[in-house]
Symmetry: D2
Subunit: 307 residues, 4 copies
């Protein structure tokens, strides 16, 4: 996300627009925690994981009173427009702030799950998948003559994109995602089939939001009543950090630039995204309603190649 | 490229088609160095850098006699179609082999420079840029009170895409590419301007094919007659190795699968590529003629953000 | 471990000694799965994670009958001496094989837990700690205004060295290891103290063999009855793979070389290790009895610096 | 180095001692650029490459006038002791400052070349070698049927340790260091021998201070008059950055702690180092006079294993 912050600040600076950075998201907006960001302030941040501004959840911003306080702070500082990096929840908040207080809001898709409409990919997704992939690669190295099963739990509460891309790129035998009901018996059969074909180990990638539960529960279910041996890795917040990949930085730079341009052209309640290499603008609403990408083709390809 | 090899072999296996792997490219084709590749033979290769089949140049394949020998070997083994992973030169060879001997050929774009038409990205490009980016990140860490200039030479003889993406993602002050004539004086002014704005160091990314020469020569030219201090890094073949990124593996899997499907549908002299997330087919000729992507927008964004 | 295999093979080759590689450890020894290893066979393996020979457990080798079969295979192939890379269990097996059948055995310390006497460090330890450290770094990046607690479970059933080194290098607030009884209440107080001192998040590293249980259980115990928010990462076998670090490769090369020299000098039932930069030889028995390194100083330093 | 800064600050804090951080080394000392460092100020820095305090050279500090100004600044702020992280040059300066102005000085070995007496390893060396090693690994991946020679130039003006450790760990065919006169003809013969033994490529690691010149010159010399094909990589400052390894962080923490203890015990003009895992103290003079480690055994092992 730092690449997007840098893109916003430097574009604004080049166009003679003043920028403030809000610390810790909507919580900081309510507490008036903002600081000047000029071209120098965003030097040396492009390679840092996380965000220099911090993140936080804010229950208070979900209330009209909280948003009124935030709007008062913004107006008190003479702010005309807001760039919001986030997902579903952040965009609902932005929409309400705009509706209720006339603050122009432009969103940048920034969820790790890639679960938004209006952009092929969200900021942070490419980095998170590569981190998960590196973990899977390391597990593959522990070659063994055992018929051993490895379960790797990755992020993804409502969407399995991270699991799907990591699983396809990592050569997983199976990928379990919220988009498809998980049949423990079928997983067991798949794995047995792989062992019979000569595989000495299988890797199963599990999205945390899978309907059959977390990796530990699924692992126990699959090996129950068999002589199979299983091992579990839960990546957790490891996926959220680390230096961003090239794709995430280039996307951040482009979207940061596009967000400022959109605000200066009078846009409001829209999200900037990238589709087929082009910057596009969609309504904020589209971002959270039109997020039903079809996981089918990826699942098919994974199934086909997992021989 | 191993992801593409795996994609080809496993797709073929799933469809009941037999696959041979040719070692060391056209040279191996002429020497009849081929080996059986079944689903197990491509296990555990997806995370490896380079290619399990090896690469080589072959002067002999540029002659009709060389190609006749290759075709004889292929026919002797009952091969009906060939998947060629490579660039301009490889595709010219494939076209000639098809024209002269009727071997159906399907190409997969696999150059590090991303210099082909018919696909948004080539296999290996994403990995190479991320390697270059990691080097740039490390250089950024060596903070200093000196006004120091770092020159990083990356691959790219005819096309500067690697330099452009690495430079944008790495926060370079300037990127010198074959697509734009390099003015040493202008680079010096740019750098001086950055130092005056408070920067303590500048990174300049140079594509090896830049018209002003290699990084050493350019560095000497820029600091000549000034008190500036410069340091040079030449990445060389470092960019060609290492575990491929998620994008390269997913692209490899998809294109490997698509190439087999195309051959089975009777296609010949085409390349499979990815445009806007969709698999497309273009003529091999398009790949080497329609490669004039416009570097302008990226250069503009780099110039704008390098404040 | 591949660096050690290469060191053994190339040293032997240089000294005119023939080498066989046993696949999948003692299991392969019993099944007579051995293959010729010459200087070329160990080319290009030094950077690979895991081991090219594979690993496996063997219940059968724990029986006199199993060992008799293994010895017969070795003698049938004219093998005079055996280099065993492993830990406690492997060395017990080697000792028995030597005692019962006169096969000269030299051990190389190769456990991820660093839980052997006779060597400052075991092969694989440096790599495993660096992998764990990288995960901790990524978690640190997810800056937050929450007072959030991260628990990272690393390997170490009987010894907490991996947790201690990763925790000290990763700036952990607390490290829970088998060497010291864990007091959940004390952990809670430590963490609260950190938050009061202005920390916005704390990382607790847990060795899997800690007396208070795994990371999930400890995390639940610590946050119970508080408003603290916790997240868990379980690294699992991720720590066993990946390209080995410089230290592990240099250690492997040196110990592989030393093991061959020791066998040629008629040594038996010893382990080669490195102490203070020097190669030393100790009895195999020492390796598993003299492994009570004192974790005290490291724990003290961690406690002192975790302010 | 940040781990050492953290170690100094937190140890001092725990012992009730106040700490100032001097920005940009001796230059900052002369310009009175110092800032308060409390326990919180060194949070979140342990994983960062470079140093949060910056580095710089200072010609002025080599003069008695410069040192007098620095001493006046230190005394004006009530500073009793100075911890200096650096090498030869920094320690000469510290000694002079102590001699002339009675400022107690304790050194921490912090050169990338590992060229100091009084410590097995210097801070930053382990990280730099691992970075060089990763580059060598990537080059190894670019398997080829060509008989191709890769030259990798690493840091090391007067000492070849970085080249030796990287070369041994990276499986180099030859390592050229200042400690041994380089015979171009012998390198050519070595390489030819390797190709005759079936190697398809050779990697030669060159320390920048080698007597035969830089990697480009050596490469040209070796291939001259042959049909060999060479490629050059010059790592440069890439080796100075990036997240430090576990070893460097643990060493930094230990030495930072030991430096504060030494100052509090009234020590002056000494360096703290680590030998055989123990913290030791030697005179600053020892650090720069007793640095003639014997490169012989490593060179022998490299030659033996490079078959």
């Amino acid at each position: 996300m730092n690449a997007a912050v840098r893109g916003v600040v430097r574009t604004a600076d080049a166009l003679g627009v003043h920028t403030l950075g809000v610390e810790f998201g909507y919580r900081g907006l309510i507490k008036d925690r903002m600081r000047e960001l000029d071209a120098r302030a965003v030097s040396g941040i492009i390679q840092l994981g996380g965000t220099i501004l911090g993140t936080a959840r804010s229950e208070e911003f979900r209330t009209p009173e909280g948003r009124a306080r935030a709007a008062a702070n913004l107006k008190g500082r003479g702010v005309d427009g807001l760039v919001v990096i986030g997902g579903d929840g952040s965009f609902h908040g932005a929409q309400a702030l705009s509706d209720e207080h006339g603050i122009a809001c432009v969103g940048i898709p920034g969820t790790i799950d890639n679960d938004l409409g209006g952009s092929d990919f969200t900021l942070g997704f490419d980095t998170a998948v590569n981190v998960a992939l590196e973990a899977i690669d390391r597990i593959r190295d522990t070659a063994s003559s055992h018929e051993r099963l490895f379960f790797v739990e990755v992020m993804g509460r409502r969407a399995g994109w991270l699991a799907l891309y990591a699983g396809l790129a990592g050569g997983a035998s199976a990928v379990l995602v919220p988009e498809r009901p998980t049949d423990i018996e079928a997983v067991r059969e798949r794995v047995r089939g792989s062992f019979e074909m000569g595989k000495t180990f299988c890797i199963v990638v599990v999205a945390e939001g899978d309907d059959a539960g977390g990796a530990y529960g699924i692992a126990n279910g699959v090996v129950e009543g068999t002589s199979l041996d299983s091992r579990v890795t839960v990546l957790g917040h490891v996926q959220r950090g680390g230096p961003p990949t090239m794709r995430d930085r280039v996307l951040g730079a482009r979207l940061g630039h596009a967000a400022v341009k959109a605000l200066l052209e009078g846009q409001d309640q829209i999200m900037v995204g990238e589709r087929s290499g082009q910057i596009i603008r969609t309504s904020l609403e589209t971002a959270w309603t039109d997020n039903d990408h079809d996981a089918g083709p990826l699942l098919e390809l994974i199934d086909l190649l997992a021989r």
